[in-house]
Amino acid sequence: MINEIISMNGYGTYVWSAFAFTLISFATLYFVTKLQLSKEQKRFVSKFGSLDVEKAKAARLQNINREILSNTSKI
């Protein structure tokens, strides 16, 4: 049974390489995108941390900024 699945009637090399290429492409795109997201989140936190009290207060008034900060605390 296992041998049949691996050999795929002699087409195993083609079938498995097509599926492997697809899954490797998925994994690469996912990790690159995740890395970019986490880089931007870290940059945001570092910029937010360098704001003075008044500016930080003004920035916190925006929902989206609060949302980014709350999400970043989980990474």
Binding site: A18, F26, Q62, I68
Partner: protein
């Protein structure tokens, strides 16, 4: 109507959704792979080589769907002057490009055992390659042009021009004599593909669509945070 499209309104959803979409994607992909590689029958002519269809066809469909969306969003961004449309389009493009590359590479792998060649300059393959070039130009233009207004104009033009190629890809098998078979699946009439193959194809298409949604959400969040980073600089 467009007030619901404002980033401030949708970020709360887009920032939380990826983990649920990832979970769903893994489940659907696992079912799809089991169906495609083990449970579905082999083809009477192509034998097990037909299983490549379960990655090749959904990848081609989704790359075409995403490019059509890019073109529509670009028209929307021109007509309604809504920058969020171009942000959505920019976030959709990377997964569309990857699906295009997957369709070309898996098609090439499938071509060797069925046609005896890795590559042929037939109408469908060539028009898919042209689509990949449009995707490449679209993504490059976002990187090259630093001025946002100019980047939106150029990328929108590329997407709208590239959209001319979409019907050419779709009808290439009818308009020209190509190595590709005519379409087997038609939502308006009877399909010439058996349910035992149509079901795994549908599941794999759903898995691929979920993956593109996942990448879109992550990319869109990245773009929004970039905008907010610039906003902090201006404070």
């Amino acid at each position: 109507m467009f007030k619901y499209f404002k980033p401030n309104k949708i970020f709360a959803i887009t920032s939380r959704a990826p983990k649920y979409v990832l979970f769903l994607f893994i489940i659907v992909l696992t079912i799809g792979l089991t169906e495609a590689l083990i449970l579905s029958p082999e083809d009477y002519k192509q034998s097990d080589a037909v299983r490549i269809m379960y990655v090749h066809v959904p990848a081609a469909w989704i790359s075409l769907g995403i490019f059509s969306s890019l073109a529509l969003l670009s028209v929307g961004s021109f007509v309604f002057k809504n920058k969020n449309f171009s942000l959505i389009a920019k976030s959709l493009a990377p997964s569309g490009f990857i699906f295009n590359v997957i369709a070309l590479v898996t098609g090439s792998i499938w071509g060797k055992p069925t046609w005896g060649t890795w590559w042929a300059w037939d109408a469908r393959i060539t028009s898919m390659l042209i689509l990949a070039l449009f995707y490449g130009m679209y993504l490059l233009a976002w990187r090259i042009y630093q001025d946002k207004e100019q980047a939106i104009k150029i990328t929108s033009m590329i997407a709208i021009l590239g959209a001319i190629n979409v019907p050419i890809i779709k009808f290439s098998v009818d308009w020209w004599n190509t190595l590709h078979q005519p379409q087997s699946i038609n939502i308006l009439s009877n399909n010439s593909i058996h349910a035992s193959m149509l079901i795994p194809l549908g599941i794999m298409t759903a898995a691929f669509a979920l993956f593109s949604l996942l990448i879109f959400l992550m990319k869109y969040n990245t773009e929004l945070i970039k905008v907010k980073n610039k906003g902090l600089d201006r404070l």
